[in-house]
C-alpha cells in the first residue's frame, strides 16, 4: 500500500500529512513535488492544506490547472482514493472532481479553531471507521472555506448521500451558530459521485494524536487504509 502526498509551491501541511500516514498510521508515503508528476500508481493520493500559488485568483484555482492534476484525475477514474484537505479541497473543487466551490468565508476573515462536525455518511471509503451521526472534534484553518454550489448540485449531494461532514454543535445539531464560515447547509465534506474522492475543509492530520487534543481525524486515514486493504 502506498500513499502519495502532493506538494505544490505554498503547500504547508504536506509534511504533517506525511508524518501522520507514515509514523502514526504506519503506511508507505511518497512526498511528490507537483512537477515530478505521479510516475507510478498509488492506492491513495492526498492533496494537503496550504496556500498553493499564494491563493492567487481563487484558492486552489491555479494548482487545479497544473499537469499533475491530470494524473490525480486519472487515479480517481481508476478507483484510487483521493483526499483533498483544506487547500486540497479547494483544488479538487476547482478541478471539478467534486461539485461546487469553497469560497470566501461569510465573515471574511481567516478562522483557525476547533470545530465539531457530524459524520453524515459512514459508508464511504473515508468514513467507515465512524458511525453515521458521530460528532467529531477537528480543527479548521481557512479564509476561503464557505461551500457554495447550485441548488441542484446540493440537492443531488443530499439524495446521493455524498455529504461526508457538516458543521454542527457539540450535540450534533446542525445550526447556523455552529456554521463557522456560512457554508451551504453547513456542508464541509463532499464526496464525488463515485465515492472515492473526498474534499474536506477540516484538517484530520491535526487531530490524529491524543497529544494534539483529538484522534478523531486519524479515523479518516484509518478508514482509507482499511478500504485499500479490503480491496487488495
Amino acid at each position: 500500500m502506498r500513499f502519495a502526498v502532493i506538494q505544490f509551491g505554498g503547500s504547508n501541511c504536506d509534511r504533517d500529512v506525511q508524518y501522520v500516514l507514515s509514523d502514526v498510521c504506519g503506511v508507505d508515503v511518497d512526498l511528490v513535488w507537483y512537477k515530478e508528476r505521479l510516475l507510478r500508481p498509488y492506492d491513495a493520493v492526498v492533496l494537503p492544506g496550504g496556500f498553493s500559488y499564494g491563493d492567487y485568483l481563487r484558492a486552489g484555482a491555479i494548482a487545479a490547472r497544473t499537469p499533475i492534476m491530470d494524473d490525480v484525475t486519472r487515479h480517481a477514474a481508476g478507483g484510487a482514493l483521493v483526499l483533498g484537505i483544506c487547500n486540497g479541497a479547494q483544488i479538487l473543487a476547482e478541478t471539478g472532481l467534486v461539485p461546487g466551490v469553497f469560497t470566501i468565508n461569510a465573515y471574511p476573515k481567516f478562522i483557525c479553531r476547533w470545530v465539531h462536525v457530524r459524520v453524515e455518511n459512514a459508508a464511504s471509503p473515508f468514513t467507515s471507521e465512524f458511525q453515521k451521526g458521530d460528532v467529531i472534534r477537528i480543527p479548521i484553518a481557512h479564509a476561503e472555506g464557505r461551500y457554495v454550489a447550485t441548488a441542484d448540485a446540493v440537492g443531488s449531494l443530499n439524495t446521493g448521500d455524498r455529504i461526508a461532514f457538516r458543521f454542527c454543535d457539540n450535540k450534533g445539531s446542525i445550526t447556523d451558530e455552529a456554521n463557522p464560515n456560512g457554508a451551504a447547509e453547513n456542508i464541509t465534506g463532499v464526496l464525488s459521485k463515485t465515492g472515492n474522492v473526498l474534499a474536506m475543509m477540516p484538517h484530520p492530520e491535526r487531530a490524529s494524536e491524543a497529544v494534539l487534543g483529538s484522534t478523531d481525524g486519524k479515523k479518516i486515514f484509518d478508514s482509507m487504509i482499511h478500504h485499500i486493504e479490503q480491496k487488495a
Partner: protein, 81 residues
C-alpha cells in the same frame, strides 16, 4: 493582430459578497451614504489573434478554463484594437 482585451469578472447576482459588504460599511462610516456596492475583478490582456471575433473567443475560453468559476461568477469581455 494585437488586441487589448478587458475581462471583468464579478459574482453572480444574489451571491454573497463578504468583501463588498465590509467595504460598503467602511465607505458608509466615512460619511457617504451608500445604497449598494459590488466588487469585480478586471483583467487587461494583450493578445495575438486573427481578428476581433477570434480575440473574443480566446478571452471567453480563458474565462471558462481559468479566470472565472462558473458556480459563482459572471464575466464580460470587451475587445479593443
Amino acid at each position: 493582430m494585437k488586441f487589448d482585451v478587458t475581462i471583468t469578472i464579478s459574482l453572480k447576482e444574489g451571491m454573497l459578497d463578504p468583501e463588498a459588504s465590509a467595504i460598503k460599511n467602511a465607505i458608509t462610516n466615512l460619511g457617504y451614504p451608500t445604497e449598494s456596492l459590488r466588487t469585480a475583478r478586471l483583467f487587461r490582456i494583450r493578445l495575438d489573434a486573427n481578428d476581433r471575433e477570434a480575440a473574443k473567443a480566446m478571452a471567453q475560453k480563458m474565462c471558462e478554463r481559468l479566470l472565472a468559476n462558473p458556480v459563482i461568477h459572471r464575466y464580460e469581455i470587451e475587445v479593443a484594437g
